[in-house]
Structure formats: structure tokens, C-alpha cells
């Protein structure tokens, strides 16, 4: 977020705060583009989160635009909010992953396997295929493709709680299958 953006945005932004909604829409579009670039760099492994976070941050900027001090750089204000929202997302994900840990523990059986990773993956597919659809799909989406529970629910048409239950029961069943393997 360089100083040229600062010069370009400052005038329209002050007009926007004074009530010019066309200038405001222009500013938000510029800010959205900046945010998209900022988050894309930081969320390389979570590309699906970028646009959601851009929107969430725009709403936050909108609701808190009275906290902008006209005597200070707009880019510093925007950058601080962008960073805050990024850290907040990371914290939320960390909390969620912590809650998921008990489920992952069921997979500890894999750690004991002496197959190499490729074999393990092939075996996993084979074992997965033996699971009923309502357990297999959630595991494929959440644990293999890395989608969130909400995204999985949308894709499979299952409810969120059905997805969670499916992952949990499915992993238990998988662990049981693996334990029984010779």
C-alpha cells in the first residue's frame, strides 16, 4: 500500500466521509482490490477464504469508518484493519482446529503404518470406498480436500451437523478397519 495509493484515495475518501456515495463506492472498490492482493499473498493455502475475508473487512471498514482520523494516512488505517482481520481469521481457524483434534487422533493408526505415503493414500482410498456415502463424502471433502464444514455442507447438500458427525463416525470406522488389517 504505497503513497501513490494514499494520494489517489485520500480526496475521494474525505468526500465519501462527507456523504458522497459515488466517491465512497470508488474508494471501496480500490480498497477491495488492495485487500484482495494483501490477503492472496497471506492465504496461499486457503484461496477460498480470500474473497470472504475481503468482504468481511470491507464491512468492518464501513461500520468503523468514523474511527478514521482525517489528519492521518488512510492507508495506515486500512492496513491496520486488514491485518487485524487477517489475524482474527487465523485465530478463529486455530481455535477450530483445536476443537477438531480429537477426531484427528483417531488417525494415529496411520502413523504406525510402515507403508510409504503413496501406499497409505492408495489404501486409504480403498478403505474409504468401503464406507457408506454419508461418511465417505464428508471425509473426502473436509479431510482430503481441506474444505470447511460449511463448504462441504453446501457441496453435498448435507446439514453442517451431519457433515461433522459423518467425519467423526467415518474416521472412527476407518481407524477400526485399519486396526483389523493384518
Amino acid at each position: 500500500m504505497g503513497s501513490s495509493i494514499e494520494e489517489r484515495l485520500r480526496g475521494p475518501w474525505l468526500a465519501a466521509l462527507a456523504g458522497d456515495s459515488a466517491a465512497y463506492a470508488d474508494c471501496l472498490r480500490e480498497l477491495a482490490a488492495m485487500l484482495r492482493g494483501y490477503y492472496r499473498k497471506r492465504l496461499v493455502s486457503l484461496p477460498d477464504e480470500v474473497e470472504d475475508l475481503v468482504q468481511e473487512t470491507l464491512i468492518a471498514m464501513h461500520n468503523r469508518r468514523h474511527t478514521y482520523d482525517p489528519g492521518r494516512p488512510l492507508t495506515a488505517w486500512a492496513h491496520a484493519i486488514a491485518k487485524y482481520k487477517y489475524v482474527d481469521l487465523m485465530r478463529r481457524r486455530a481455535v477450530r482446529d483445536e476443537l477438531h483434534e480429537p477426531i484427528d487422533d483417531d488417525l494415529e493408526a496411520f502413523a504406525a503404518s510402515d507403508h510409504d505415503a503413496a501406499d497409505a493414500r492408495r489404501d486409504l482410498r480403498k478403505l474409504l470406498a468401503t464406507l457408506p456415502e454419508r461418511h465417505r463424502r464428508p471425509i473426502e471433502c473436509v479431510k482430503i480436500e481441506g474444505l470447511s464444514v460449511a463448504e462441504t455442507a453446501r457441496r453435498t447438500g448435507m446439514s453442517e451437523s451431519a457433515v461433522k458427525v459423518g467425519v467423526h463416525r467415518g474416521l472412527k470406522a476407518l481407524a477400526e478397519l485399519i486396526r483389523r488389517q493384518p
Binding site: L17, L28, R29, H62, H66, T67, Y68, P73, I81, K83
Partner: protein, 213 residues
């Protein structure tokens, strides 16, 4: 909703921003908080009836200035913390200055005092109750200040909470001087500082929980 639609929605509903919104929020919070603190002192602790006599002693005003400067420096820092992208700068050093000044004064008093008297200068007669009383008086201010900050945009919740607590502690201590019999610098440097540190710690604990946005 795609981002362009969102922007259109946000821009259409947006009127001009009230430029006095932030100062008004602080004014309301500080007025209500201080009023709450006064009510606590008046109803639970009692206002001294010899205030007119005490007010003739310089230390009465040094004590008040000490508490007020803790509050004032905390307020300056808080106003910065509540706006995204505004660095604290010298405001963080300024917050330490009242403590350092009081400790320097306390050191002088202790050095000049008879050795026999030193413990009494530190402990006074109310050291057991002072820190918790200041905390108690600070709580209405802390609640009000945190409410004010919730409507702003703090990006450092722990630091912001702690500074809100420091502001509440400073105002709480100032109001508590209406009840407190202690005027010696060594006492103030220990027990007032602890009394103001407790609301600051409370604020630091509460910050991440209630200042999220």
C-alpha cells in the same frame, strides 16, 4: 453476495460520517463512569468530612495530581489505540512518567525519614484495604470505558484493555481520594499503584474477549 454487489449496498446506505461521534462517545463514558465511581465512594466508603482541612495540605493536591495524570496519560494512549493505524509513540512513555515521579518523591521521603518511621510511611493505616477499594471504585469507569471502545476499532485488544483499565484506575484513585486518609508518597507509590494496576490487569484480561469486532 459478490463483492461488487456488497460495495454497492454499502455505498448506497452510507450517509455522511458524524465527525464528533468519537469525542462524544468518550465524554459520555467518562461522565457516566466517574459518576458511578462517585456513587460507590459516597454509598459504600463514605466521603471524608475533613476534606476542607486536608485540602490545605500540598500532598492532598499532589495525590490528586498523581491520580489525574495517570488517567490523563492513559486516555491519550487509549484514544490512539482505539483508532486503527495510529502508533502509540511517546504516549507509552508518558504513561510511566507519573509512577516514576511518585517513586522518586517516595524515595526522597524515605531517605529523609527516621528509620523507625519508614515502615509506617509505606504501610499507613489502610494498606490492606486501599488497593481493593481503588479497584472497586474503578469498576464503573472500566465498564463505561470498555463500552466506549467497543464502538471504536482497537486492533490491539490486550494493550487496549490494559490501557482502558489504567484510565479507569486513575479516575478511580482520583475519586477514592475523597475517602482515603493517606497522604504519604511512599504509601501512594506502593498501594495506589497496585490499586490502579488491578483494573489494568482486569482490562488486559477482558480486552481480547469483549473488544473483538
Amino acid at each position: 453476495m459478490n463483492t461488487d454487489d456488497l460495495i454497492r449496498t454499502l455505498a448506497t446506505g452510507a450517509g455522511p460520517v458524524e465527525s464528533r461521534a468519537v469525542p462524544r462517545r468518550y465524554a459520555v463514558a467518562l461522565a457516566l463512569g466517574s459518576l458511578g465511581a462517585l456513587v460507590v465512594v459516597a454509598t459504600h466508603l463514605g466521603v471524608r468530612n475533613d476534606l476542607a482541612v486536608l485540602a490545605e495540605l500540598p500532598m492532598f493536591w499532589v495525590r490528586a495530581a498523581f491520580a489525574a495524570s495517570v488517567a490523563a496519560t492513559a486516555f491519550v494512549a487509549l484514544a490512539r489505540l482505539a483508532r486503527p493505524g495510529v502508533p502509540l509513540g511517546r504516549a507509552s512513555f508518558a504513561m510511566v512518567a507519573p509512577m516514576v515521579a511518585m517513586w522518586a518523591l517516595a524515595a526522597v521521603v524515605l531517605v529523609l525519614a527516621e528509620p523507625m518511621m519508614r515502615a509506617m510511611l509505606v504501610l499507613g493505616s489502610t494498606w490492606k484495604t486501599c488497593p481493593l477499594n481503588i479497584t472497586l471504585v474503578s469498576i464503573p469507569v472500566l465498564v463505561a470505558v470498555l463500552w466506549a471502545i467497543r464502538g471504536l476499532a482497537p486492533t490491539r485488544p490486550v494493550m487496549t484493555g490494559a490501557t482502558a483499565g489504567r484510565l479507569a484506575g486513575g479516575i478511580g484513585a482520583l475519586v477514592y481520594t475523597l475517602h482515603c486518609p493517606e497522604l504519604e508518597a511512599p504509601f501512594l507509590g506502593v498501594w495506589y499503584v497496585i490499586g490502579m494496576a488491578i483494573p489494568a490487569a482486569l482490562g488486559a484480561l477482558l480486552g481480547p474477549r469483549i473488544l473483538r469486532w
